[in-house]
């Protein structure tokens, strides 16, 4: 067995085209994740009862825990209500994608294309595509900036970045601006890097010892997937908190 058998590609592979728009395997995967979430939401919504059963009770406890956590973090029930849908959706979307990562069929069902030597997997774990994580990072970034502008006021929030009060404040503002833009990079690379590295690790281990050994590593990757989904939502939340907190004057 040689290392040549290990096939790793950073870019997602297009499966078919709609017009000139390529549909990649990660895009198919994200549609599946959306379908799972929508179906789950519809089914659960229909079966909601005023007197909750055991399962509904458990879910209500989870929702309440996240709700209380957000209210404590943002120091406001109203703001928690406003941001809860976004933060919870970010978490659920990333988490479900990471949880179904190792479902049989994902990555193992392949199609062959003429003119292509390598087999192309029909489905591929969603977060191993930098496009997906960059899109999520842009969503988080825009929400952070817009909520800063809306809740703090245009000039008050803008003065965090462009401030002619003193040379010192001006330079601090520039640094703030760069670090704000750096978040785009760190948000997307953190998620992409963690999940992609996990996939590569599993592929390499499966090439050496195909049976049994990959299982504990897969379990670890599921743990990492949960942590990363939580981190993404948590960091968005805490950056929102930083953005809507007025600058202290000493």
């Amino acid at each position: 067995m040689s290392m040549k058998e290990i096939e790793i590609s950073i870019a997602a592979e297009p499966i078919f085209h709609i017009g000139s728009f390529p549909v990649t395997n990660t895009l198919l995967m994200s549609w599946i994740v959306m379908a799972i979430l929508i179906v789950f939401a519809l089914v659960v919504n229909r079966r909601l009862k005023l007197h909750p059963g055991k399962i509904q009770n458990a879910f209500e406890m989870v929702v309440e825990y996240i709700w209380d956590f957000m209210a404590e973090m943002l120091e406001s029930k109203k703001l928690a209500k406003r941001f809860f849908p976004l933060i919870a959706t970010l978490f659920l979307f990333i988490w479900v994608a990471n949880m179904i990562e190792f479902t049989p069929g994902i990555g193992s069902v392949v199609i062959h294309e003429e003119g292509h030597s390598a087999a192309i997997p029909l489905l591929r774990s969603m977060n191993t595509d930098l496009n997906v994580t960059v899109a999520l990072a842009i969503v988080a970034f825009l929400v952070i900036e817009v909520s800063g502008f809306l809740l703090l006021g245009f000039f008050k929030y803008g003065s965090k970045f462009i401030n002619f009060g003193s040379p010192m404040k001006f330079f601090i503002g520039l640094i703030e601006m760069v670090s704000e833009l750096g978040r785009l990079l760190s948000f997307s690379f953190r998620l992409f890097g963690n999940i992609f590295a996990g996939e590569v690790l599993i592929v390499v281990i499966a090439a050496f010892v195909p049976f049994f050994l990959p299982i504990p590593f897969m379990a670890f990757e599921l743990f990492v997937g949960t942590i990363q989904a939580a981190i993404f939502a948590l960091l968005t939340l805490s950056f929102i908190k930083i953005a809507i907190t007025p600058v202290e004057h000493h």
Partner: protein
């Protein structure tokens, strides 16, 4: 064999190894500091463990991101 005879593939492999190898040093030290301080804090004040854990995970994510940058760069050197 001289260094210039190595070829582009070997140079890529070397570059990948160096990128992730050096890139993991700093975040490794940082993560050690974060966790040691977090454990210390929980040891002194066990009631605050929930709060400490939250802050610890955020710090962990920010520090670990640096190692992940190095990893992504390493992959890009090799495969992209």
């Amino acid at each position: 064999m001289e260094f210039k005879d190595l070829g582009i593939e070997a140079a890529k492999l070397l570059g990948m190894g160096i990128a992730i190898g050096f890139g993991a040093i700093g975040p490794g030290i940082g993560l050690g500091l974060i966790f040691s301080k977090a454990i210390e804090a929980v040891g002194r004040n066990p009631e605050a463990s929930g709060k400490v854990q939250g802050i610890m995970y955020i710090g962990m994510a920010l520090t670990e991101a640096l190692a992940i940058f190095a990893l992504v760069i390493a992959f890009m050197i090799r495969y992209a």
